[in-house]
C-alpha cells in the first residue's frame, strides 16, 4: 500500500492535519518541487512564444526568471539536506528525498534549456520563419516536449507510475525527430542557403528539446523508484521498463 502525500497546490495550503512532522516536511518539499515545475513549464512556454513572435522582451524575461529557477534548486537542495540531517528518513520517505534531489537537478536543467532557447531569440537579428519551424519539425518537438513535461508532473503529483512509464515511449518520438533533424535541416539549407544561420539555430533548439525528453525520462524513473522501489536506470530498452 503506497501512501500518497496529501498536497494542496496553492502556496501555504499544505494539509497538515493528522500528519507527522516528517510528513509535513515532505509535503512542503513536494509542494515546493511542484511550484518549481510550474515555473519551468512557464519558462518553456514563454521561450516558445518569444521564438514564434520574435518577442525579445519576453525572451529577456525568461532569462531573468532563470534566476528564480536556480534559487528554487538551491532551496530544495537545502531543504532535502535539512530533512536528512534532522529526521533520518527511511523507506518511502528516504526514496522520496533521494528522488526529490534528482528531480530538482533535472528540472533546473530544463530551466537552463528554456533560458538557452530564449538566449537565441535575444541574440537573433531577425525573426524566425514560421514555415521553417514547421518543416524542420521544431514546432512538433517543442509541443511534445512541453506535453511530456506536464504529464511527468501529473505522474509525480498523483504518484501515477503508469503515467510515468508512458513517458519512456513518448520520449522515443523526440529522439526520432532529433535523429532525422540533421538530414532535414541539410535539405532545407540546400533549398534556401540564405536561411543557413536560422536553420542552424533551429537544429540547436531541436537538440535542446530532445534533452528535455531525456530529463523527463530521468524524472519518470525517479517517480517509479520513489513509489515502487524499483530501479529502472540504465536498462537497455524502454520495453524493459
Amino acid at each position: 500500500m503506497i501512501r500518497v502525500h496529501k498536497i494542496i497546490l496553492q502556496e501555504g495550503l499544505v494539509n497538515f492535519i493528522d500528519m507527522t512532522q516528517l510528513e509535513n516536511e515532505i509535503s512542503a518539499l513536494k509542494a515546493e518541487l511542484i511550484r518549481m515545475w510550474i515555473l519551468v513549464q512557464s519558462q518553456m512556454n514563454k521561450a516558445k512564444e518569444a521564438m514564434l513572435q520574435f518577442d525579445q522582451d519576453l525572451a529577456r524575461e525568461v532569462l531573468v526568471k532563470e534566476k528564480r529557477v536556480n534559487s528554487y534548486e538551491l532551496s530544495i537542495d537545502n531543504n532535502c539536506e535539512n530533512i536528512f540531517a534532522l529526521y533520518c528518513p527511511v523507506a518511502v520517505d528516504l526514496r522520496f528525498l533521494l528522488a526529490a534531489l534528482k528531480i530538482n537537478t533535472n528540472l533546473e536543467r530544463i530551466g537552463d534549456i528554456a533560458a538557452g532557447i530564449a538566449r537565441y531569440v535575444v541574440e537573433s537579428t531577425a525573426n524566425f520563419n514560421v514555415s521553417l519551424l514547421e518543416k524542420s519539425q521544431l514546432l512538433r518537438i517543442y509541443e511534445e516536449s512541453v506535453n511530456i513535461l506536464i504529464d511527468t508532473r501529473a505522474a509525480f503529483e498523483k504518484e501515477d507510475t503508469t503515467l510515468a512509464r508512458s513517458i519512456f515511449k513518448r520520449d522515443e518520438v523526440l529522439d526520432q525527430i532529433n535523429i532525422a533533424a540533421p538530414e532535414s535541416i541539410a535539405e532545407l539549407i540546400k533549398e534556401d542557403p540564405r536561411s543557413t544561420n536560422e536553420l542552424l539555430y533551429i537544429l540547436s533548439i531541436i537538440r535542446k528539446l530532445e534533452r528535455v525528453g531525456d530529463q523527463c525520462m530521468n524524472i519518470a524513473e525517479e517517480i517509479i523508484f520513489y513509489v515502487e522501489a524499483k530501479i529502472l536506470k540504465h536498462q537497455e530498452t524502454s520495453s524493459n521498463k
Partner: protein, 252 residues
C-alpha cells in the same frame, strides 16, 4: 550459504492466557547481527528471552512449537547448558556489585562451580575484556569493583562476562537504552567486531541503531513476526506496509 544457528518453527509463548508470541518461524544465520524491533508489547523481548529460556523464570508461562540451537530443541536441553551457549546482556548494566572487574568476568565459571586454574582464569579475563574492547581501559584496575566503571564500561564488562563463557549466541535486550551517546557508540562499534565470533540478537527501540548495527532486521507486531529481511532492504523498501508505517513513524 550461511548456516542457521537459532531457528524457530511455529513458536508460541504465553503468559497465562495472554498469547504474547504468535507462530513465529525464523532462521537466524550464524555470525550475523540481528536486530529485533517493534512497538512496546509486541513480544520481541519475550521472544528473545524464550531463546535462552529466561521467560521460564516467570510463573504461568508456556511455550509451543520448536526453538532450536544448532538444530537441537533448546526445550529438550538442560537450561543451564542453554545459557552457557546463549549469553545475555540486559538493558541496564548489571555487574555484580560486590565483585571486582576480574571476578565479574569469571563469574560464570565461579557461580557454576567450574574449577579453572588461575593461569587459565587470567587468560579468559584478558581475552574476554579484549574482545569487549575494555582491556586497555581496565587492565591496571582489574581488582577494583565493577561498579566504579562508567555506564558504557559497565555494559562492556557485562558483555565480557557473557563472552567469557564462550557462547555461540549473545542476546542483547535494549543494551544501550541506558547509555549516553558516546557509550552507545562504543557498544555499537563492539557489535561489529563481536559478530566475527558470535551471533548477536539485539532487541532495540532505536531504529537508527538497528539500521546501523545489524545485518538483518526482524519486525514484530502484536506478537507476530511481520517481516525478517536484510536491514538495507527493510530500511529502503520494506515489503510489508506495517513495517513501512512503523519505521517511518506513521504507526497508529
Amino acid at each position: 550459504m550461511e548456516s542457521t544457528v537459532v531457528s524457530s518453527k511455529n513458536f508460541n509463548a504465553y503468559f497465562g492466557d495472554n498469547h504474547v508470541v504468535k507462530n513465529v518461524t525464523i532462521d537466524i544465520p550464524r555470525n550475523n547481527a540481528i536486530a529485533v524491533m517493534g512497538p512496546s508489547g509486541c513480544g520481541k523481548t519475550t521472544f528473545l528471552r524464550c531463546i535462552n529460556r529466561m521467560h521460564e523464570l516467570i510463573p504461568g508461562t508456556k511455550t509451543e512449537g520448536t526453538l532450536c540451537l544448532d538444530g537441537e530443541d533448546v526445550y529438550n536441553m538442560n537450561p543451564i547448558y542453554v545459557r552457557y551457549k546463549i549469553g545475555m546482556v540486559f538493558q541496564r548494566p548489571n555487574p555484580f556489585p560486590n565483585m571486582s572487574i576480574y571476578e565479574n568476568v569469571i563469574a560464570g565459571y565461579k557461580l557454576n562451580g567450574l574449577k579453572v586454574p588461575k593461569a587459565d582464569q587470567d587468560n579468559i579475563v584478558e581475552k574476554s575484556l579484549t574482545k569487549a574492547a575494555l582491556w586497555n581501559e581496565v587492565k591496571d584496575s582489574l581488582h577494583k569493583k565493577g561498579t566504579f566503571l562508567s555506564g558504557g564500561q559497565q555494559q562492556r564488562l557485562c558483555i565480557a562476562r557473557a563472552i567469557a563463557m564462550e557462547p555461540e549466541v549473545i542476546l542483547f535486550d535494549e543494551p544501550t537504552s541506558a547509555l549516553d551517546p558516546i557509550s552507545t557508540a562504543s557498544v555499537e562499534n563492539l557489535f561489529n567486531e563481536l559478530k566475527a565470533n558470535y551471533t548477536l540478537i539485539i532487541v532495540t527501540h532505536n531504529m537508527q541503531q538497528a539500521a546501523r548495527v545489524s545485518d538483518k532486521t526482524a519486525f514484530f507486531y502484536l506478537g507476530e513476526l511481520v517481516e525478517f529481511d536484510n536491514t538495507k532492504q527493510m530500511f529502503t523498501a520494506p515489503s510489508d506496509p506495517r513495517t513501512q508505517n512503523y519505521i517511518t513513524g506513521r504507526f497508529s
